[in-house]
């Protein structure tokens, strides 16, 4: 793999991860607001407010940087040139004459609105800010779906719509688990206690289960549409090996999530189970980071058949 391809994968992974983290921070904020009880309100308000805002803004900054450098990588990919100046010279053509260029302008406006929503609209008018966040995040998923192979059957085709839901569900699953497992749950366990953790964990578990349902449906559709042409590549190509690695990691994440749900959240809240839940979610979040990295490599690897 050459340097530019590696850099392209790094940008793709950073972009997808930061998008997922913004989605995760938004959801975690909702669930924290819903946790009731006067002793824990201060803790959850602090986590839902400044902490989630910091996670959201840091992720959005990374997302914007990835967005700004993307036209160069598109120019490099389309022209086959890895020379910096040659690809840079093609950026105006990319932005003015290609489908990717049109989508880049749409994303630029969307990111400005998302930045405004996160930085000041949400503080002054929380409900408008949250609606703007949700709308812009959906729009970003829609433009991402429109920039992939799924869009070749036309705009709003079943393939593109399936890809849109697949991207959203992936981000909900990955973002919610990473933000919860690495940021929210460890703090809730220590500062708010098991009942608050169970209230939060119940909402997290239900949402992730729903996301897994959507992922299963969209995955079945994509498998029916595309996989037959790549099934032979599954066992023999680097693409297949990366995909099987991702399958193994997803299997581990599902098992960890299932353990958290059935061994902890379905049983009465105790401090021992709270510690176990925190550990399980942290492990699942770590696996999820690995899944995002493998997904970035997979998305930029050809089946080769």
């Amino acid at each position: 793999m050459d340097f530019v391809s590696a850099l392209n994968i790094l940008v793709a992974v950073s972009s997808d991860s930061s998008y997922a983290l913004i989605v995760g921070a938004l959801l975690a904020g909702y669930w924290l607001h819903a946790v009731t009880g006067p002793p824990v309100k201060q803790v959850t308000a602090s986590l839902a407010g400044p902490v989630m805002r910091r996670v959201g803004m840091m992720s959005l900054t990374v997302l914007i940087v990835c967005h700004l450098v993307r036209p160069w990588f598109v120019a490099s990919s389309m022209s086959g040139s890895t020379e910096f100046r040659a690809a840079l010279a093609l950026v105006p053509t990319i932005l003015s004459s290609t489908r990717q260029g049109g989508l880049w302008y749409t994303n630029s406006v969307t990111l400005v609105v998302l930045f405004a929503a996160q930085s000041f609209i949400k503080a002054r008018a929380p409900s408008i800010g949250r609606w703007l966040e949700m709308t812009t995040l959906c729009l970003l998923a829609a433009t991402k779906a429109a920039s992939t192979h799924a869009s070749e059957e036309g705009d709003l085709s079943p393939a593109e719509i399936s890809e849109f839901f697949h991207l959203l569900a992936t981000s909900v699953w990955a973002g919610a688990i990473i933000v919860s497992g690495l940021v929210v749950v460890p703090r809730l366990t220590v500062l708010a206690g098991a009942p608050a953790l169970w209230s939060y964990g119940g909402r997290l578990s239900k949402t992730v289960t729903l996301a897994l349902g959507v992922l299963t449906l969209s995955g079945m559709y994509t498998a029916w549409r595309d996989m037959h042409s790549h099934i032979s590549a599954l066992w023999i190509s680097p693409w297949g090996k990366i995909l099987l690695t991702k399958v193994a990691l997803v299997g581990v994440a599902v098992l960890l999530g299932g353990s958290a749900r059935f061994r902890c959240l379905r049983r009465p809240a105790t401090s021992d189970r709270a510690t176990a839940l925190s550990r399980l979610l942290r492990s699942e979040a770590t696996v999820m980071v690995a899944i995002l990295c493998v997904s970035g490599v997979l998305a930029n690897t050809s089946p080769g058949i």
Partner: protein, 127 residues
């Protein structure tokens, strides 16, 4: 069937079910390298002098970055005009002048709308 065999059989089925479920969850939208599905004149065919070369690809093309050039046996480019992608963005055509008899090579570059680039070549003979 002994209890051990039943347990083993069920465990095996569960493993396959888990693997299949995980595969469905992670199946990626295909990485699209667009490629020709039909060429006129066809590869390795012998034809009367064609007025153009037309290639239909598997996916939509980016007109600014996709192209066809046709060279003769000595490697000189014979098409005077640039190739164009039509209203059907999966089809690219290059007009040709009157070609004398000989072997010609079609070089194509197809860039799909999702940025992936592929290229190739094939020959045809003018009788």
């Amino acid at each position: 069937m002994s209890l051990n065999l039943i347990v083993k059989f069920r465990a095996q089925r569960l493993t396959y079910a888990l693997l299949a479920s995980a595969l469905v969850l992670v199946v990626p939208a295909a990485f699209a390298h667009t490629s020709p599905v039909s060429m006129t004149p066809a590869a390795d065919s012998t034809v009367s002098a064609p007025q153009s070369v037309t290639i239909r690809f598997t996916g939509a093309l980016e007109p600014k970055f996709s192209k066809i050039t046709v060279t003769d046996a000595s490697g000189h480019v014979v098409n005077k005009e640039a190739s164009v992608v039509g209203a059907d963005t999966k089809v690219m055509t290059v007009p040709l002048p009157a070609l004398p008899a000989g072997v010609y090579t079609v070089h194509w570059v197809g860039v799909s709308t999702d940025t992936h680039r592929s290229q190739g070549e094939y020959k045809f003979t003018v009788k």
